[in-house]
């Protein structure tokens, strides 16, 4: 898999990943900016407001009917962070033209529609409609508040927030309730006019289309904007934790959620990140990893216990759901398994298994259009150009000693525990 890069204009690139193995094509338009507390809520809100209506499709019903007529090509908003880069924009997954029954050129029509959403929004009195802005503010606030509904992801998020408090990384890609509330239609519109010309725009296309024609169509689609400056991604990396901080919160749930936050001492841009990846795989990357085999299978303490590495920020969260009174046992066992790897206490089988598992994962990425975009966009942010296939060669070369050294760089920073206060399930059940 290779990426063919075309410069569309200053600050705007089209990256084509050509393949004919799918029945679909995929387009993602990514606006890259520095993560920042003042503007995070704006970046989360903007795509949602733009998606409410355009000049030609003035409301959501009209736009959604258009998506349906384009064989259910929904233009989806995206908003996430990679390290301390805030990425937002749109994506669409569409049928390839050969399955279209009425002769429509779906790629071309989808590009036009994305451009219309981005550059020709429905306006009232020269500004975003206050009805749309207020409605999407409420939805965004609800989304922020609803994060607590999913306890698994919430406990990981809270650990990251506590661990990185005071660092830019602690800023949520969705902003805070207060920041969203403060946005007005005018302030959002001013922000829009500025960011659309200032963010670096990375467009990805995965699929099969006439490349020259695609470049031309993208150039036309993005002609309304004039770029002013380049963006250079930067993420603050703290390589060591000095002391361990304990944070405990009570929640009215039955289970306890334990999240151990580590500084991994390694990031993708280091150039030898595969050493850390091999370590985290052996530690807690699969059902044959040390965490799964010991914390779950041997001690029967949990249903899930795994390591979630962040390649850009250089942190790793070990996440688990346990009985509330088993917190100490689980934590001790997780740390013991880390210590074992540091001492080189892992077998040839574990080493080979980790290698195979990562290689299998890397190869599988080439079967997923969105997976490919995520891979290449992530590498671009780290300023390295490498395909999943090439990265496999690097994994092959990692030695056992490299893994021990990678493990020694990992330090525990924050222990987050969500203490469930409900004794027995069923106490708030209405039936049976």
């Amino acid at each position: 898999m290779v990426v063919i890069k075309h410069k569309i204009a200053d600050g705007i690139s089209l990256n084509i990943i050509e393949t004919d193995k799918f029945k679909t094509n995929y387009i993602a338009v990514n606006l890259l900016t520095a993560l920042d507390k003042k503007t995070a809520a704006y970046k989360a809100l903007l795509p949602a407001v733009l998606k409410r209506g355009t000049v030609n499709y003035p409301d959501m019903a009209a736009l959604n009917r258009r998506y349906d007529m384009l064989y259910s090509t929904h233009i989806n908003t995206r908003c996430f962070k990679r390290g301390e880069t805030h990425i937002f924009g749109f994506s669409a997954h569409m049928l390839d033209n050969r399955f279209v029954l009425d002769g429509t050129d779906i790629v071309s029509e989808t590009l036009s529609l994305i451009a219309e959403i981005m550059f020709s929004p429905a306006l009232s009195d020269g500004c975003f409609s206050s009805v749309y802005v207020e409605s999407e503010k409420k939805n965004l606030i609800d989304l922020i508040k609803s994060k607590i509904n999913n306890k698994n992801s919430y406990a990981v998020l809270r650990c990251q927030e506590e661990m990185c408090r005071g660092e830019v990384f602690a800023v949520s890609e969705d902003g805070t309730v207060e920041d969203v509330e403060a946005i007005t239609p005018q302030s959002l519109f001013d922000f829009y006019k500025e960011i659309i010309n200032r963010a670096q725009i990375e467009i990805y296309f995965v699929g099969k289309y006439d490349n020259n024609l695609l470049v031309e169509k993208v150039r036309n689609a993005f002609s309304p904007i004039r770029h002013v400056s380049g963006f250079v991604p930067y993420t603050e990396v703290i390589r060591n934790a000095d002391t361990v901080r304990e944070v405990s919160e009570e929640q009215p749930v039955t289970q306890g959620k334990l999240s151990l936050g580590f500084r991994s001492g390694a990031v993708l841009s280091d150039g030898d990140y595969e050493k850390f990846i091999m370590f985290s795989e052996i530690f807690g990357g699969s059902p044959s990893s040390k965490l799964f085999m010991n914390v779950r299978e041997k001690l029967s303490l949990c249903y899930y216990c795994h390591a979630i590495p962040d390649a850009h920020k250089g942190i790793m969260i070990v996440a688990s759901g346990i009985e509330v009174d088993k917190k100490e046992i689980a934590q001790d066992e997780i740390l013991l398994q880390l210590e074992n790897i540091r001492r080189g206490d892992f077998t040839e089988d574990e080493y080979e298994a980790a290698k195979k598992s990562i290689i299998n994962g890397y190869r599988s990425i080439t079967d997923s259009a969105s997976g490919l975009v995520s891979w290449f966009l992530g590498r671009k942010l780290a300023d390295i150009e490498i395909s999943p296939e090439k990265a496999i060669n690097l994994i092959e070369k990692v030695t056992k000693n490299d893994i021990v050294e990678a493990a020694k760089k990992v330090t525990l920073d924050t222990v987050y525990f969500m203490r469930g206060t409900l004794k027995e399930s069923g106490e708030n059940k209405n039936d049976d």
Binding site: N64, N149, Q255, S300, D431
Partner: protein, 430 residues
């Protein structure tokens, strides 16, 4: 190699085909070649959480087993008599393995990018060789108890089972798939063996492999591992279920940011003819998009009025043992959503549906179906679902295109009756 008749089924328009054979062991084997990097295998049995009461050949009495046993069995299959964990066996080939239990099936799977037949051998071998002891059962009770707790703290999951319990009186779909901490404490190795021997008969199972795979090598592997089995003769007992819901409304409080609602439309009109069921599946999917799709009146009016948000969604199930539609989301005012839902349905019933909407939504169903052919994982899982309902995935595009406006109208009038609606809500704690 043992000779078996191999049937090829091809769909030229889709550019897809599969091979089928009834293996001498009794197993139905489907090979779906696909030029992708990842190959996928799915080995499933027609046995899920709804099968809690059954009768073996020659038995006078029914056997009733604890809730959650199909799921428990799925977990326990990963342990082997020689003490080796199945995940560690797969670790040697690099395959990524998993399993799941649903209402009506248990399936074991792996995906890989090399050494496919070695992994296939592991899959066929461990699922054919049960090994349970009181000690390993006890160990699993701890793990599954945590899985159950996780589900009990998950409002999205809770509301689905609240809804199913409100809709169904007798049907075992109302049982939680993983059971409860209490019900699984009653599971013993003897009961596990009994269920295994009853339902893990190769005649009751199917294997679907998809990817860069060959029929010959797949059959060679099956020849090596699988032994001929006697005919399947187990009778699952499902109680009759009346058409109306048991309770029109259920609610509870949990830690959520905002109230959740889930509206259920119960349907007992299920044809014994598999082709009719495939057709009704297509009809329901088109009808759902017409009624609740993002281009439609209901979604847009409620969204504009701030009653629903992006979290709004709907899905349906229609197979030989159950059929329902679920319409769910978050709202500050679930009872207003429900009132508007009933009003909207009443007006659709009275005024009829738009023919233009029908054509548009038919196109949506067609596109969604085609998009499913880009991953070996999606193909294999979807394929087995069709097979277990005696259908055929490669016929589905034609079935969608044959659906008429009248079909959709008829289903609307047949299904959408107020006595078949339930509303489940979850409100935040005080």
């Amino acid at each position: 190699m043992m000779t078996e008749k191999i049937i090829v089924k091809e769909n030229d328009f889709l550019g897809e085909k599969y091979y089928y054979t009834k293996h001498s062991s009794g197993l139905d084997i489907y090979v779906f070649p696909k030029a992708l990097t990842t190959s996928y295998a799915l080995f499933g049995t027609r046995y899920g959480s709804i099968d809690n009461k059954f009768k073996l050949a020659g038995d006078d009495e029914y056997t009733v087993v604890p809730d959650g046993i199909a799921h428990f069995l799925e977990h326990k299959m990963f342990e082997n008599e020689n003490g080796e964990d199945t995940f560690l066996r797969y670790a040697k080939t690099g395959a990524s393995a998993n399993a799941y239990t649903s209402f009506n099936m248990t399936a074991y799977l792996f995906s890989c990018t090399e050494r496919f037949y070695e992994s296939l051998e592991i899959l066929l071998d461990f699922v054919s060789n049960p090994y349970f002891t009181p000690e390993t059962v006890k160990k699993e009770q701890g793990i599954i108890a945590q899985e159950i707790r996780m589900g009990e703290d998950n409002p999205g999951r809770c509301i689905i089972f609240d809804l199913l319990k409100a809709m169904y009186e007798n049907h075992t779909i109302r049982i939680e798939i993983a059971g409860t901490v209490n019900s699984i404490s009653k599971i013993t190795s003897d009961i596990l063996y009994k269920c295994y021997n009853a339902f893990y008969n190769l005649h009751n199972m199917a294997l679907c492999v998809c990817g860069d795979v060959s029929v010959d090598k797949t059959l060679e592997t099956a020849d090596r591992i699988l032994k001929a089995q006697p005919d399947f003769d187990v009778q699952s007992i499902y109680e009759p279920e009346k058409r109306e819901v048991v309770k029109p409304y259920v609610t509870r409080k949990m830690q959520v940011a905002k109230p959740l609602f889930n509206i259920g439309i119960k349907d007992t009109d299920i044809s014994p003819d598999p082709r009719e069921r495939m057709k009704k599946n297509a009809v329901i999917s088109i009808l759902d998009d017409m009624l609740f799709g993002r281009a439609g009146e209901f979604y847009n009016e409620l969204y504009s009025d701030g009653l629903i948000s992006e979290s709004f969604g709907y899905w349906s199930e229609h197979n030989k043992s159950f059929s329902f539609v679920s319409v769910s989301g978050e709202s500050d005012n679930p009872s207003e959503v429900y009132t508007r839902f009933k009003k909207y349905i009443a007006s659709c019933l009275e005024k009829g549906l738009s023919a233009e909407d029908f054509e548009r939504c038919k196109r949506v169903s067609y596109a969604a179906f085609i998009k499913g052919f880009d991953s070996t994982d999606t193909i294999a899982n979807s394929f087995l679902n069709f097979i277990f309902d005696d259908g055929d995935m490669l016929d589905f595009a034609d079935i969608i295109s044959a659906v008429t406006y009248n079909d959709v109208n008829e289903t609307l009038h047949g299904m959408y009756r107020e006595e078949c609606f339930s509303l489940a809500t979850i409100f935040p704690l005080d």
